[in-house]
Subunit: 460 residues, 2 copies
Amino acid sequence: MPANLPPALTDDLRGRFGDRFTVSPAVCAHHGKDESSLPAAPPDAVVFAQTTEEVAAVAALCHAHRIPLIPYGTGTSLEGHLHAVRGGICVDLSQMNRIVAIRPEDLDATVGAGVTRKGLNAALHGTGLFFPIDPGADASLGGMAATRASGTNAVRYGTMREAVLAATAVLADGRVIRTGTRAKKSSAGYDLTRLFVGSEGTLGIITELTVRLHPLPEAIASAVCAFPDIAAAVSTVIQTIQLGIPVARIEILDALSIQAINRYSKTALREAPTLFFELHGSPAGVAEQTAALRAIAAEHVGMDFEWADKPEDRSRLWQARHDAYYACLGLRPGARSITTDVCVPISRLAECIAATRADLEQTGLVAPLLGHVGDGNFHMLLLVDPDDDDQLATARGFAQRLAERAIAMDGTCTGEHGIGLGKRKYMALEHGAEALAVMRAIKMALDPDDIMNPGKILPD
Amino acid sequence: MPANLPPALTDDLRGRFGDRFTVSPAVCAHHGKDESSLPAAPPDAVVFAQTTEEVAAVAALCHAHRIPLIPYGTGTSLEGHLHAVRGGICVDLSQMNRIVAIRPEDLDATVGAGVTRKGLNAALHGTGLFFPIDPGADASLGGMAATRASGTNAVRYGTMREAVLAATAVLADGRVIRTGTRAKKSSAGYDLTRLFVGSEGTLGIITELTVRLHPLPEAIASAVCAFPDIAAAVSTVIQTIQLGIPVARIEILDALSIQAINRYSKTALREAPTLFFELHGSPAGVAEQTAALRAIAAEHVGMDFEWADKPEDRSRLWQARHDAYYACLGLRPGARSITTDVCVPISRLAECIAATRADLEQTGLVAPLLGHVGDGNFHMLLLVDPDDDDQLATARGFAQRLAERAIAMDGTCTGEHGIGLGKRKYMALEHGAEALAVMRAIKMALDPDDIMNPGKILPD
């Protein structure tokens, strides 16, 4: 029996959930750590919920006892979002993995929060539709909504902000709301859907969501092109977007990332700043886009422009991109990565990257850079020896300066990873004291006892 | 001196604003009525503000005296959004019409809340960019943000929900916040931008906003096609969207609307349910889209498919569409229009329209139907004799059944006009009591004295 939970609560949960309630240290430990480098903070117990009603029942009980409640999807968050820093009950939603409905005429689907993006796409097989948001990890859609995730396709298809039409959410006291309808647009009152998207479980727990789908493109092509420097690559992207070329993906990888990929994926790419493109459309449209891209890249001294429209060639290229994380870890065997992301207006991107690389050189850290350059969003993988406290401190200092640099350029301290525990310290700088006070007022209005994923987003 | 305002407040405002503060009955009357059929409700005074700081000063004064504060843009709202139902001070923002910055590399612009959409597009001349959101009226961007407006281009370019990157807003007590940054995406905390977009001045007054721009398409074509019935037209739209044809506009007009247009605009269109399309892209892409559309329309017995890529032919067509409101009024000289809009999942659209037309026949009302069919959003213009109370009551009853029908189909009681005063009665039905309670809690947290545009959105 965990010391922190009232026996009346554990008895009630055990009676209601049987084996799906556990205080097993191993299970709690598994649920107390995400993919960040932050110290683990296990919950006191874990409940595996299967329905919205069950989550509501857990919330009502936790509310009665003023015990924290933390939602858990696949554990792939990057800023300590699920760490039970004040103990409490973790609600694992992975068994809420039902595809409730797929509606091809409306291009939408309703799913349990535990359905993963790959799970949804598998269920869409044969419909001619797909769900485009791809944060890398096969995260749950509930978790992706809660962190406002995005990824490589966001430049064309948007982020979870645009993808979620409506959600079912359990509030702090166990009440259940639906945040919208299936209408594509609405002017009917406050946008609760967008309020819950990105709220990281601090206002309520998303248990079901309706998401937009998109038609599978008739034709897909990929292209890759190396550049003499980052500025030339970014200028290529700016011009591409200004010309209205509807690229589905534009990714940037610096020379170090390419070196890592060459080593890991046995590719032979030039070790220079490189753009990966993906183009969606009709066959003629994709050919036209490719020609336009080639011309723009040539203007910016692009080298080795190659394109692929065969699925196997495309897959090889994007597999290499998706494996970049592991490839980069391979640059320093034994290292682990402190992964951070920022997002700036694209006009400032080349400057932000240049200043960041200059800073990096001062630190002596090894840190490949890659990102969703069409959105001005990039990641750095700070490869550190987990046992070297000095190096960890250096890396954290570097990440802090990066966040502050992005904010100073009218950007954000996180484009897609979220705030969690790790980035709370930038909230006041990014939003200002008054906007942060508004967020606190909203949190207080919806969760006055501070039991919904406490300690996240808002600084203490 | 208006009886409702404390002399200390009016003295202070007069001292601060001079001629830009007025209690003139004519000016107050002008600011107490929008384009709805709701009874006028003039404010006690009007302030013409020129800066965010001035709005903040008015808010601080109103807060000190607990006097309502109502923002005013161009007065083109349709549900009584600006009616001063509890008196108070109207802040006219039309002089906040400065284009603060246009940033072609970032595809964004920052403008005062009083800049209109046409004003912004005029300022964009020569940049190769445009602002696509077009609600018909030349509304102010602040007002469009506050009502989450959209219009004909939303199917391709989204609504004000997607268009606003960040806003500056004055809170109930005069504090000023900025709701976001210029980063294209962010996962940094609660989405205050989306909370203020659509809040109709009830949480704060938007004084400045940063909006996304889009590249002007290289080629534009329009097409028009008549159908034997509404269902065939809607099926054409569904198939068009499922195939991923990126139409910029798809508008539906029923036979009665076409009849009105023929009469008003001297066109010779077949008086049958009709789709108007607009296509944006490269010349080859637009030609390809046109061919695909023609084939889909033919499958659904489309008739008289015509397309135009010359600017003058396109303009004539869209001018006719934009004049549809006046054309429809011409169907019943002396009548005025009670204009309402709903939005449903597109799979339910044909059914919703059929049931609505059957209902209409029972009432004997004359009401052309037109709408943004790609989004499932349609409008009815209920043409009524303003002096005939029975007819007004019949029209209001019809509008109520229409809203309830849309909600029953998992749609919304308003796709783009907003709630204002007129649609508060549907809020509980659409959102449920618990979600409505969440909205109330947010309102209470941000405006505990209920002085920001009181009486709007939330039912009493």
